[in-house]
Symmetry: C2
């Protein structure tokens, strides 16, 4: 079973929008075991859309076309599919009423333009999953093979497309392909080790899996979010997939150790909040060179307020002294990072203080090159510190400092602060 | 002149990387006046790469292929092009020495793998612009037309690709297409008006430009970064393009007024810093629901420290009172926003205080629904406030609050705070 993706929209060709839909669809196809060898972008032009669809049908068993299902004049995916099917468009009155009801429930009137969204190629089925006003289509096309080929049309709006894909198209594709096995994956989030370092440690395990065929391991480099290690397994049922993934997760964790900070949707900030919460500790931040980045990540997690009390951004050196009560000394120093961490515990009344100070760049500061960073931690009155020299530009120095500081705090929460 | 883009890499099809290169190239081609009707993604597979290149050559005069120029076994763009040209690969010894020297200057030894990067299709020219170790290629292919067609191969690494495109391929394409005019564009950044609102205001001007043909206007919706209004002009020389753009910018600003906050690389934060700097004012922030987002945007601007002193993130209501000296009252209120702004001026010693408080969600707070936001401003002791109800999820409530607060501050710096 081969399936291609055709993304429709002149704005994609002009680079006004980056086509991330195709990438997401490609990933989902791979996960359910369907081959996808080509992805095409084409503008809102009937002849070229028909050309792209015909080509995709000639090479593959199924085509997923994204975009061009909206209500305006340049939304012509329905017309292109009708042409490929050799049929006309027919207005689906039941669909008209459904769309009208959706507008009504949002307190808006349906315009005549929206009627176009109910003009379907004769013989097309409507995707029963329709989160927005744009109906998805399932269109079977006979090309002389043993069974029909199929075109799935989904909206270009990412969340509508994803829901239609997940709830209908992927299962339908699997059933057409006669795939009865279930594929699942689990992603281990790691920080602190390079791809080649992880690959070396896991080399024997990957060879073993190559022979047993029970699972595969892939590495996804994710910049300042660290390296992701993805375990993928295929088995006859969801329960068996989960069992294989869990068993393999244990093996991988035994091999690569505590560079694993989380699983799947965990983030460094959600994990740090969990570690604090389970210990009944409150957190305060003192951010100089990151200027609020750590705090904005922490507060992106809903429900953080039971642990996170707040922060101080003493960007000016005088504020480190005046607001946090640090001694009068250079800003870029180990002692300053430690006194900032202690100060934030005192001023905000928290159990834990995390502080960063340093040089984001591009100019040197206090005689230090850009990328020089000090991290200070105070946990229940005990302190620790670390320093790093990042060979990066301003943005990356700030981002890498952010995750490095959170990772340092995580390790000290778990292992405790060593005694001198 | 038609030019297609072929992006090579199995990781693109699997969705491990989003292909943003093609989008960028598409935008550049449009800007220099070259049509691009198709973009294709194909994996690291020789037969399918040849198929994709042949198809692109059959439809277009030129093809830009990105990726697959590295030193590893799966980098086979050179092989695919040789096959399309009907020639073999020949090692270019001068190129070997050039690559060896590049490694040497970085203190590293060249591996034997890197020799592959000097194996070129017979008759290929090397792109003289070579910022990294991967040489770009220019390969002419005779397909029976009046002139040769051309394949440009560029590395998949974005900054290397962009430099080769800008400095060599775009001018070469223009010269092959006989395009002697220069195209330039200018982007006006706006905040506070919808696309349909802007389109309505500019309707007459767009019609006028349609007739004169001197310039075009396009709208780029950019979420919480606002609407971008892009003016594009074509003229025989750079000087004339600049003159047309400047004249048109004046017209557009006259029509849409002060929703324009900046031009091209300006951001809301850089503009606010400029407004503060020109008035000799210092800034302090008090961020509750945005939790450091505003501060992290401000401090992303290099050189902000002459204006930005720092901030307080009183996430816990008690800190609004204990650290900023606000009265004991509900957190989500106009008075709290104003007292936080006044408090931050006092505690951090700044001329200007900007404060936000409200409900990010997903849960209601103090009886208010998510999306309820208060903004407070203090400028030299005079205060003002604003409130907004955002119908968004947590992330967007925070992001829209961030730019709304900065925009409110910008307008009050320019217009002053109205007297009661």
């Amino acid at each position: 079973m081969k399936c291609e993706v055709v993304a429709v929209g002149t704005e994609l060709l002009l680079g006004q929008i980056v086509d991330s839909n195709s990438a997401w669809i490609g990933e989902q196809l791979a996960l359910v075991g369907i081959d996808s060898f080509f992805q095409t972008k084409v503008g809102d032009n009937l002849a070229r859309m028909v050309e792209a669809l015909e080509l995709a049908l000639s090479r593959s068993d199924a085509v997923i076309v994204t975009g061009g299902l909206g209500p305006t004049q340049d939304d012509i995916t329905r017309d292109a599919i009708a042409k490929v099917m050799g049929v006309g468009l027919i207005r689906d009155e039941a669909l008209v009423e459904k769309i009208r009801a959706m507008f009504g429930s949002r307190g808006r009137d349906m315009t005549d333009n929206n009627l176009r969204q109910a003009d379907l190629p004769e013989g097309a089925m409507v995707n029963p999953v329709q989160p927005g006003t744009a109906p998805g289509l399932i269109c079977e096309v006979d090309r002389g093979g043993p069974g029909p080929k199929v075109i799935y049309a989904v909206p270009g709006v990412p969340w509508e497309m994803k829901q239609q894909m997940t709830e209908w198209i992927l299962p339908d594709l699997q059933s057409r392909a006669g795939i009865t096995s279930v594929i699942g994956s689990r992603t281990l989030r790691t920080w602190g080790m390079s791809e080649s370092g992880l690959a070396e440690l896991l080399d024997d395990e990957i060879s073993r899996l190559d022979q047993t065929g029970t699972a595969t391991i892939a590495f996804l480099a994710s910049g300042w979010e660290g390296m992701k290690v993805r375990i993928t397994a295929k088995a006859p049922s969801e329960g068996e997939v989960t069992a294989v993934l869990s068993e393999e997760e244990v093996r991988v964790r035994e091999i690569i150790g505590n560079v694993v900070f989380g699983v799947d949707d965990d983030t460094m900030e959600s994990v740090v909040l969990d570690e604090l919460r389970s210990r009944g500790l409150t957190l305060g931040l003192a951010e100089s060179l990151t200027g609020g980045l750590i705090s904005s990540r922490i507060t992106s997690v809903a429900g953080c307020s039971d642990v996170f009390r707040g922060g101080v951004i003493p960007y000016d050196r005088r504020l480190k002294i005046e607001v946090l009560g640090a001694s009068d000394m250079p800003a870029v120093s180990e002692q300053m990072a430690v006194e900032m961490a202690e100060g934030v515990c005192r001023v905000l009344g928290t159990d834990v203080g995390l502080a960063v100070t340093g040089v984001a760049g591009p100019q040197p500061h206090e005689g230090h090159d850009p990328g020089r960073v000090w991290i200070g931690i105070s946990i229940n009155g005990k302190t620790d510190s670390a320093h790093i020299n990042f060979p990066y530009d301003r943005d990356r120095v700030r981002q890498f400092t952010c995750i490095s500081a959170l990772s340092f705090l995580r390790s000290r929460l778990i292992d405790g602060i060593p005694s001198d």
